[in-house]
């Protein structure tokens, strides 16, 4: 029966286009954090960094980029998420109210009780920012933070 194919086609179309819809300003924010140790020990580049490895090489002088953790949380506006980082460090992120297709995040990076960084960032959904510098093992930590 030809008519009965419509639900299947409509369902497929919904899946195709759902991810391109503009999110409402209060929609939850999916935060993705790649925890990378950059160093000059070897020449490993984690496969997950393949699409941005040229950009990393343009920005930094390290020869090795090893991803030691990948953390994902979906948070509502006002909800704080805790992300554990190596070396007794942690990151706290809270989506704060934003307009349109933007995301605003209040981010804090702590080492024990010490506040290493407090910042408020505004990104478009799907945007990316890097936070780095704390030493770890024989290199430095670089956090690859994106929000959807």
């Amino acid at each position: 029966m030809p008519g009965s194919r419509f639900p299947a086609i409509a369902f497929v179309a919904l899946i195709l286009f759902a991810h391109t819809a503009v999110a409402s300003p209060d929609a939850p924010v999916a935060i993705d954090v790649g925890v990378v140790v950059a160093s000059n020990e070897g020449t490993t580049i984690d496969p997950a960094l393949s699409s941005i490895q040229n950009k990393l090489k343009s920005m930094f002088n390290y020869t090795s980029y090893r991803m030691v953790d990948r953390l994902k949380r979906t948070l509502s506006v006002g909800e704080t998420g805790d992300f554990g980082l190596p070396g007794n460090r942690s990151m706290r992120a809270t989506p704060v109210p934003a307009k349109g297709n933007k995301v605003r995040l209040a981010v804090q990076i702590m080492e024990g009780d010490r506040n290493l960084l407090s910042t408020t960032l505004g990104l478009t959904r799907g945007g990316m920012v890097l936070v780095g510098g704390p030493s770890h093992q024989k290199g430095v930590l670089i956090l690859i933070i994106s929000a959807e």
Partner: protein, 196 residues
């Protein structure tokens, strides 16, 4: 089921028999691992009834996936992958409360001088200290789910990093990072406890 049973009837032999239609062999595997599986599931989902459902569902799933088990691999690592995935899925679906902060999870106790931390030594001592037992339950629940899973598999199950990495399908580096974070957070959450 004793350690002797495990030597006499290794897991692989029981899997082979179960695949041959011997349901009793699958039951032996269940009896062998059910308590440990419940302990891990409870640590992840937090609720005893939910944990029991998770264990039941994991064993049913394992029964129907038994033909996927690769001989030579560790049965309990293979089974725990099914169990942990079930537990984490269940926790994500049923966890309605907002993220418990570590401030709420801290065990209250008498203030005391630094360097005088005393933990209970036996299950009976811990069972007798309701405040500490409940505080520890809250502190475990406050950990992110994968960090909670790693510390349970390492400290309670005694699994090696490589085994945990296989269960969670991540790198050994990620396992260690999460373990260290979880241990530090739980240690901080237990500050202030003193043996009364």
């Amino acid at each position: 089921m004793s350690a002797d049973d495990k030597v006499r009837h290794p897991d692989e032999d029981l899997v082979r028999s179960a695949l041959g239609g011997d349901e009793g062999a699958f039951r032996d595997l269940l009896e062998r691992y059910k308590r440990r599986a419940y302990g891990v599931a409870l640590g992840i989902v937090g609720d005893p009834d939910e944990a029991q459902d998770v264990v039941q569902d994991a064993f049913v799933k394992a029964y129907y996936k038994l033909s996927n088990f690769r001989f030579g691999a560790n049965f309990y690592t293979w089974f725990y992958r099914i169990l942990v995935n079930q537990a984490i899925d269940r926790w994500r679906k049923t966890s309605r409360s907002p993220t418990i902060s570590f401030d709420d999870a801290w065990v209250s106790g008498e203030t005391s001088e630094p360097g005088a931390m005393v933990y209970p030594k036996t299950p009976e001592e811990l069972a007798g200290n309701r405040e500490l037992a409940e505080g520890l339950t809250r502190a475990i629940a406050a950990l992110p789910e994968y960090h909670r899973t790693v510390i349970l598999l390492r400290e309670v199950e005694g699994m090696a990093y490589e085994e945990i990495a296989r269960v969670l399908d991540c790198s050994v580096g990620t396992v260690m990072s999460r373990l260290h974070y979880a241990r530090a957070k739980l240690k901080d959450a237990l500050k202030g406890f003193r043996e009364r």
